[in-house]
């Protein structure tokens, strides 16, 4: 029986200047790299495969298997791309990891690149995190100086270049094929699959794309072995992972635990729901994963446990909302996010998210009419599963799950505004000075620009 929390990736976050290479090495950093380079690449891949590591970015695909899809006979260069575009609402694990210990990722990148036979790796970080990017840039420079990246790494004959690449503000670039288009200097729009990136990815060459946390788990697996990793977690969800608790809890934060821990256990560590309040609903892994309620506190937070409850483990972003929160308002905000972030390539998503926002605004304002809940669900059926990527599915999942659990609250929107049912100041962490005048409209929405006056001096 393993302990409730098992800090591995986060073990050095409390160290002074943990981001410096010397401090990382004192902790045993880059020991796994030496071990890896002393083995054939196929053995490194084999260890990762045997460990049972699955993708930590949302989909949960087995990492070693993904690597093994890279064709060995393809004459083109192979690429590794790390997805550090962490933008899924609620998700906040990769940024603290990269800020505190960027070398954990850098070491993982080198080992993983060696395993798949790649000579050029990219770390695609969202652009809106300046200090994370500074630390990552510095870590890569330090690794070059130490001879861990570059030509003939540690005398092994293996060469690797690593580039830190900042994005420019687009959630969709967290979708792997959109990320590739963005990294090629284009608009970030998803590609139709097949071909899958393993066969034709960056520059139409074989490409592996993994989440920050997945790649960062590789050094520990190589250092301690597949069996050690397998000793944590549940039958099909092996190892440790970072859970992020946010929202109406006494102490929000990051918790690294074996897969399969429950929200009840994590909530207890976080001091519970804020004083005088109770849990109303929560997301297991970001806003794209269907919401759950207080009935689901004892479900194992692993891939199977969440799938069994009709939702997904996603990014393990546990957003906690208490009874003061209007589910209608929250759903509107999430869908508004998807509307803003829809890349516009697929009509059901581009237009459908627009329709959903309009309708949800009526629910929020108490101006929906009898039958609008069914209309909402009907629109969802025209969006979900009808686009190139999963963004549309996420937009729909938060709506359908909210209606499933709180249909009566939506029906109250046939006449009563959400802010009367759930006075908004009660959800805030501080006493507000003045209520917001109105739902904050976005000047940069092109459609609004056509219908309404545009403020002088708008930016976008």
């Amino acid at each position: 029986m393993t302990d409730v929390l098992t800090p591995v990736l986060s073990a050095n976050w409390g160290d002074e200047r943990a981001w410096k290479i010397a401090n990382y090495e004192r902790r045993g950093g880059y020991r796994a790299l030496r071990k890896a380079l002393a083995q054939p690449a196929a053995d490194v891949l084999g260890t990762v495969k045997d460990s049972g590591l699955r993708g930590r970015g949302g989909a949960g695909f087995p990492t070693g298997m993904k690597w093994s899809f890279v064709p060995k006979d393809n004459p083109n260069p192979k690429y590794l791309v790390v997805n550090a575009d962490e933008s899924e609402p609620g998700t906040c694990k990769d940024m603290p990891l990269l800020m505190a210990s960027p070398h954990t990722l850098v070491e993982g990148v080198i080992i993983s690149s060696y395993a798949i036979g790649c000579r050029y790796a990219f770390i695609y970080v969202r652009g809106e995190v300046l200090h994370v990017i500074r630390r990552l840039q510095q870590a890569v420079r330090e690794a070059y100086s130490a001879g861990y990246i570059g030509k003939n790494i540690l005398g092994s004959g293996y060469d690797l270049e690593v580039v830190v690449h900042a994005g420019a503000g687009a959630y969709i670039c967290g979708e792997e094929t959109a990320l590739l288009d963005s990294l090629e200097g284009r608009r970030g729009q998803p590609r139709l699959r097949p071909p899958f990136p393993a066969v034709a990815g960056l520059y139409a060459c074989p490409t592996v794309i993994n989440n920050v946390e997945s790649i960062s788990s590789v050094p520990a697996i190589i250092d301690h072995g597949a069996a050690w990793f397998q000793s944590m977690g549940t039958e099909k969800s092996k190892g440790f992972t970072i859970y992020s608790l946010s929202g109406h809890v006494v102490r929000p934060g990051q918790f690294e635990a074996p897969l399969g821990v429950t929200l009840r256990e994590l909530l207890e560590l976080a001091g519970g729901v804020r004083n005088g309040h109770r849990l109303k609903f929560w997301t297991p892994g970001g806003s794209s994963t269907p919401i759950l309620t207080g009935d689901d506190l004892d479900l194992p937070l692993d891939y199977e446990g969440m799938a069994g409850a009709g939702t997904m483990l996603g990014t393990k972003a546990l957003q906690i909302f208490d009874e003061t929160v209007s589910v209608v308002r929250t759903t509107l905000r999430w869908v508004e996010f998807y509307k803003h972030e829809s890349c516009g390539k697929c009509t059901p998503c581009r237009e459908g998210s627009w329709w959903l926002v309009q309708l949800l605004k009526k629910f929020e304002a108490g101006e929906a009419v009898e039958g609008d809940v069914d209309k909402l669900l009907d629109i969802c059926t025209s969006i979900g599963g009808r686009s190139f990527c999963a963004l549309a599915d996420g937009a729909v999942a938060c709506v359908t799950s909210a209606v499933k659990h709180f249909r009566e609250e939506f029906e109250q929107g046939y006449g009563t505004p959400a802010w009367e049912l759930f006075p908004y100041e009660k959800s805030a962490l501080f006493t507000p000075r003045t209520p917001p005048a109105e739902y904050p409209e976005r000047d940069s929405n092109p459609g609004d620009g056509a219908a309404e006056p545009v403020h002088e001096g708008g930016l976008a």
Binding site: D15, E128, H131, G167, E184, W334, H455
Partner: protein, 259 residues
């Protein structure tokens, strides 16, 4: 910026104007620029970092914002020239990403997160307050060019909600009082430190780092915020750890690196 007059659409295609002024083209009558030979050199350096130069387009646009304070028409032409692609291809990319601004952002670019979780926890009130204090709406810049304001989507700091950003540095656990103080300090030129980050510089300097030209500030600020360390500290206090991990050594006690 005024709306295009739809009645002006004649039978000839060249008279067509975008119906959506905010999503449309680039105002090529705006010729102001600070791009010089150094900028071109740096753009070529960026292109050389990639197997295929066009991959440097996003970093180049970040660089141009640091030079021109916006994506200028001249900047779009410069990218097209360096990469050997069309201005339409560059403009298509520049208009897709929200971090690229076609009109000048402020010396300090302030963001308030209003995605669901931050919104309900107070972000909506903070946005309203900041709008009133700065006298601008989100998406605008103050007339003196000191501040621009943006309504942010989730910035990956939810355990520090409600969150604000200044020049893409984290301002965690915001309150109305902290927001006022922050804006006052920035306006009066006082030194301001990000909660988890460095001394606040300017939006343009931040853009230069994002382009890939470091500013030497990586070692400023803490390793992690309080919320980031919560699980680790609980594990330590209760003696919880992963199986078979050697006990931690303190950072200033060098170990041989071997097991």
């Amino acid at each position: 910026m005024s709306h295009p007059d739809n009645s002006a659409h004649g039978p000839m295609g060249h008279e067509f104007e975008s119906f959506f002024p905010e999503s449309g083209g680039v105002d090529y009558s705006d010729t102001e620029t600070s791009i010089d030979e150094t900028t071109y050199d740096e753009m070529r350096q960026l292109a050389a970092r990639y197997p295929n130069g066009r991959s440097a387009l996003l970093p180049m646009l970040h660089l141009l914002q640091s030079v021109d304070g916006r994506i200028s028409p001249k900047g779009i032409e410069a990218c097209a020239e360096v990469l050997g692609i069309t201005t339409a291809q560059v403009a298509g990319v520049a208009t897709f990403y929200t971090m690229y601004k076609r009109r000048p952002a402020g010396r300090h670019h302030v963001g308030v997160c209003t995605t669901a979780l931050c919104a309900v926890m107070g972000g909506d009130y903070l946005l309203q307050q900041v709008e009133e204090k700065l006298g601008i709406h989100e998406g605008e810049t103050t007339p003196d060019g000191e501040f621009s304001l943006e309504r942010l989507e989730c910035n990956a700091a939810c355990d520090f909600a409600p969150v604000m950003m200044v020049n893409w540095e984290f301002m965690d656990n915001m309150t109305p009082e902290k927001a006022d103080q922050l804006l006052d300090d920035l306006a009066s030129g006082q030194e301001v430190h990000a909660t988890r980050g460095a001394t606040i510089t300017s939006w343009r300097e931040a853009e230069r780092v994002l382009a890939g030209f470091p500013d030497g500030r990586a070692d400023e600020g803490p390793t992690a915020g309080e919320a980031s360390l919560l699980g680790l500290e609980i594990a330590r206090s209760r003696g919880w750890k992963a199986p078979d991990i050697p006990p931690p050594v303190t950072a200033d006690e060098p170990q041989d690196g071997a097991k």
